[in-house]
């Protein structure tokens, strides 16, 4: 069975500081990994995805993530955050399409950017 663990439930950071949101996954098969962002009272927006190939994935809004197979991690990073990055961030792993393909989410990390 697949699972996702987000290691920090809350991450406070000052504006223009770098940030890393940590995500570890467990899977016995090839994985597709995703980061979604949820702004207050809004839906889920895809930030970036890892499907195959280069382990460094770049997404929207200046975010990037690195897939590390040996450490089963997919940490999200941004070199300089803005107030507008304040949101809930979810890491997710996808079941193989031929097994239903549902997304399994981590518990979420609340990023709070302070001026």
């Amino acid at each position: 069975a697949q699972s996702v663990t987000q290691l920090d439930s809350q991450v406070p950071v000052f504006e223009e500081a770098p940030v890393e949101l940590r995500c570890n996954y467990s899977s016995s098969v090839s994985v597709y990994l995703f980061w979604y962002v949820q702004y207050p009272n809004q839906g889920l927006q895809l930030l970036l995805k890892y499907l195959s190939g280069s382990t460094l994935v770049k997404g929207i809004n200046g975010f990037e993530a690195e897939f590390n197979k040996s450490q089963t991690s997919f940490h999200l990073r941004k070199p300089s955050v803005h107030i507008s990055d304040t949101a809930e961030y979810f890491c997710a792993v996808s079941e193989p399409y031929n097994q239903g393909g549902k997304l399994i989410f981590g518990q979420g990390t609340e990023l709070s950017v302070k001026p």
Partner: protein, 114 residues
């Protein structure tokens, strides 16, 4: 670009009432997923459909049922509502034969049960 449409966006019901949530996937997306996100929780998979057939089932109560219609839109029917059903319900759609299963989420329906 067209996105996933969910209606209604907000719904308030009393206990023991019924509710129907609708999802209109992106054109040419044949797979629909439903997720439930309780307050302060991560989204939990409920049920999915591929080509109008149920493809997978998660922790969906027996009081809930869903289907996908010939135009690929989907409806989630919820009966005998309980206070604990108050949540944000997301629908996501996926393109035809996508091996990577990239899911596109709708804005959600916020259900409040009083």
């Amino acid at each position: 670009a067209a996105g996933v449409i969910q209606s209604p966006r907000h719904l308030i019901k009393e206990k023991r009432e019924t509710a129907t949530l609708k999802c209109y996937p992106i054109p040419r997306h044949d797979t629909v997923y439903w997720y439930q996100q309780g307050p302060g929780q991560d989204p939990q998979f409920l049920i999915s459909f591929y080509e109008k057939m149920q493809s997978d089932k998660g922790s969906i109560p027996d009081r809930f049922s869903a289907q996908q219609f010939s135009d690929y839109h989907s409806e989630l029917n919820m009966s005998s509502l309980e206070l604990g059903d108050s949540a944000l319900y997301f629908c996501a759609s996926s393109p035809i034969a996508s091996p990577y299963n990239e899911q596109f989420f709708g804005p959600g329906t916020r259900l409040t049960v009083l």
